[in-house]
């Protein structure tokens, strides 16, 4: 069966974008991706849009994006699985191409989050927990990952300092990414003493809400080769789910959906965790990156704290993780995040990442989590 390749990638600036509407943000990323691919709009068969609708005043975002990009009457549709919506859009485009329905598909992840106040966003995000039995106690999104952190610390002796070293790394790389929301390095002691959010987390354990967009152009193998000389192949896709409620999880020291999605993707791409040179993992909170190392098999369960402490996820370590700043420093416009991750991997595999370039990057991975692991998508990219 023919492969699916990425022939173009574009990324807008993430941040508090009070200068632009969601369709204007989408346009920025789309224009860059079309230019990068060296194709015209006419080459596209369809668009898949990723966005989480509750954040926008505009209903049915795919429609307004499609019109603003002047793509009517080509087909479009929206994908939504909370913070993993972007990867769901990529998977959907991959499926559309594999099935032969479409040959060239644009994937656009876009989100405007800052139209809402932080307390409203906390309330909304908390409702990604089970509203009937949990949200009534004022559970929040940071609160959920904080409960994972409490469990991980108890079971494996992971320390808050180790977690915060994830933030230090990601801000270090974010300082070198012109598309990142935060472009400053942070110091461990200052970060450890930032305001409390949900114990053990303080402010620097948490990623920031942001506005932004990213775009990929995917194509069927023969079209990809005809249109582009720098194709990056999407050779493995994995997707799995876990219970909505933390009350129904086997344990709170990892995400079972991430383990399963990772195994599916590795199997399909016929590679192992050891082959991955560069990875984008879902570091919405510091503990999430530590659990990702373990769930994906970069290290054993329980060894994630040591893994970051020994800088094994820096460039020059075993696998370079989130060297674009991650959600932590780059910002997390939730619908755009999965596409942004894929953008970074595509640039890395093409050798276009400048001072953040990972040497000999030939296989890259994205790990995009929806909610608290209710959904996880793992994608494996390769250059020939």
């Amino acid at each position: 069966m023919s492969r699916v390749g990425v022939i173009g990638a574009g990324h807008g600036v993430f941040g508090r974008r009070s200068d632009a509407t969601v369709q204007e943000l989408a346009f920025e990323a789309f224009r860059l991706a079309i230019k990068d691919a060296g194709i015209s709009r006419d080459d596209l068969d369809a668009t898949v849009v990723a966005a989480v609708p509750e954040y926008h005043k505009q209903r049915s975002v795919a429609g307004v994006v499609q019109e603003y990009l002047n793509l009517n009457p080509k087909p479009t549709w929206l994908t939504e699985v909370a913070c993993a919506s972007g990867s769901a859009a990529i998977r959907t485009a991959w499926m559309a191409i594999k099935s032969g329905v479409h040959q060239v598909v644009a994937v656009i992840g876009c989100q405007k989050m800052t139209e809402m106040a932080t307390a409203e966003i906390l309330a909304l995000m908390g409702r990604v927990g089970e509203v009937q039995w949990e949200s009534i106690f004022g559970s929040t999104f940071p609160g959920y990952y904080a409960m994972f952190a409490t469990s991980h610390m108890h079971e494996f002796g992971t320390t808050h300092e180790q977690m915060m070293q994830v933030a230090v790394k990601n801000h270090f790389y974010g300082s070198k990414n012109p598309n990142a929301l935060f472009r400053k390095e942070i110091q461990l002691d200052k970060a450890m003493n930032s305001d409390a959010v949900a114990s053990p987390f303080c402010v620097y354990d948490c990623c920031a809400n942001a506005d932004g967009a990213a775009c990929l152009i995917l194509a069927e193998e023969s079209r990809a080769k005809a249109l582009s000389k720098k194709v990056v192949w999407l050779d493995g896709v994995g997707c799995a789910t876990a219970s909505m409620s933390v009350l129904r999880r086997p344990n709170l020291v990892g995400l079972p959906s991430a383990v399963e999605a990772g195994q599916q993707a590795f199997r399909m791409a016929k590679v192992t965790a050891k082959d991955v040179k560069v990875a984008e993992v879902h570091d919405c909170f510091t503990i999430a990156e530590i659990m990702a190392y373990e769930d994906l098999g970069f290290c054993k369960k329980g060894h994630g704290g040591k893994f970051i402490e020994e800088k094994r996820s820096y460039i020059g370590g075993e696998v370079a993780v989130n060297v674009d700043g991650g959600l932590k420093a780059k910002g997390h416009p939730i619908g755009a995040t999965g596409v942004s991750m894929a953008y970074e991997i595509v640039k890395q595999l093409r050798g276009e990442s400048g001072e953040r370039q990972v040497p000999n990057a030939d296989i890259g991975l994205t790990h995009n989590v929806g909610g608290i692991g209710q959904y996880t998508f793992v994608h494996l990219f390769r250059r020939d």
């Binding site: 932080t118 307390a119 409203e120 906390l122 309330a123 908390g126 409702r127 509203v131 009937q132 039995w133 949990e134 949200s135 009534i136 106690f137 004022g138 559970s139 929040t140 940071p142 609160g143 904080a146 409960m147 994972f148 952190a149 409490t150 469990s151 108890h154 305001d195 409390a196 959010v197 949900a198 114990s199 053990p200 933390v246 009350l247 129904r248 709170l252």
Partner: protein, 152 residues
């Protein structure tokens, strides 16, 4: 009736609405599938194993162990006035888990995963409406129960 459950309520109608009636009377109810015996908390009207919709409530003792916990400082809309508050997930002795607030007898700094606790039904007394919840207390904590009503 289910909208009684919680400081802020998001769910008004459910097949297990009588859960709130029982909680008001001081009883914590899980569910048992009448066909296969699957027992769980929180209660479910529909059995995840055999797909049966034939269930009955079962009273839980509220005894259990701390599964995990966090103290929330950055509160969402509707909870600002009670922040900071500590959320505890309790593994119940009879099976299943629940989320609750840490009560006065269990200060946040004394919370540890694995310690035995008693979950106690509560009512917000300064609220004009009925608002129910439960707290996590030291083992041996007691509370008042109303006589069991007849529920359809």
């Amino acid at each position: 009736m289910f909208s009684w459950f919680g400081k802020v309520s998001f769910v008004s109608y459910t097949k297990v609405s009588d859960f709130a009636v029982h909680l008001k009377d001081g009883r914590m109810m899980g569910s048992v599938c009448k066909d296969c015996g699957y027992t769980t908390f929180p209660p479910r009207a529909d059995c995840p194993q055999g797909l049966s919709g034939n269930f009955e409530f079962k009273e839980y003792s509220g005894k259990g162990k701390v599964f995990t916990h966090t103290t929330i400082s950055a509160a969402p809309t509707g909870f600002e006035d009670v922040a900071p508050y500590t959320i505890v997930v309790v593994e119940l002795d009879e099976g299943g888990r629940l989320m609750a607030w840490a009560g006065d007898t269990v200060p946040a700094k004394e919370l540890k995963i694995g310690i035995p606790v008693q979950v106690v039904p509560r009512i917000f007394e300064d609220s004009p409406e009925i608002k129910l919840y439960y707290t996590v207390e030291k083992p041996g904590a007691t509370w008042k129960k109303a006589p069991a009503p007849h529920l359809g």
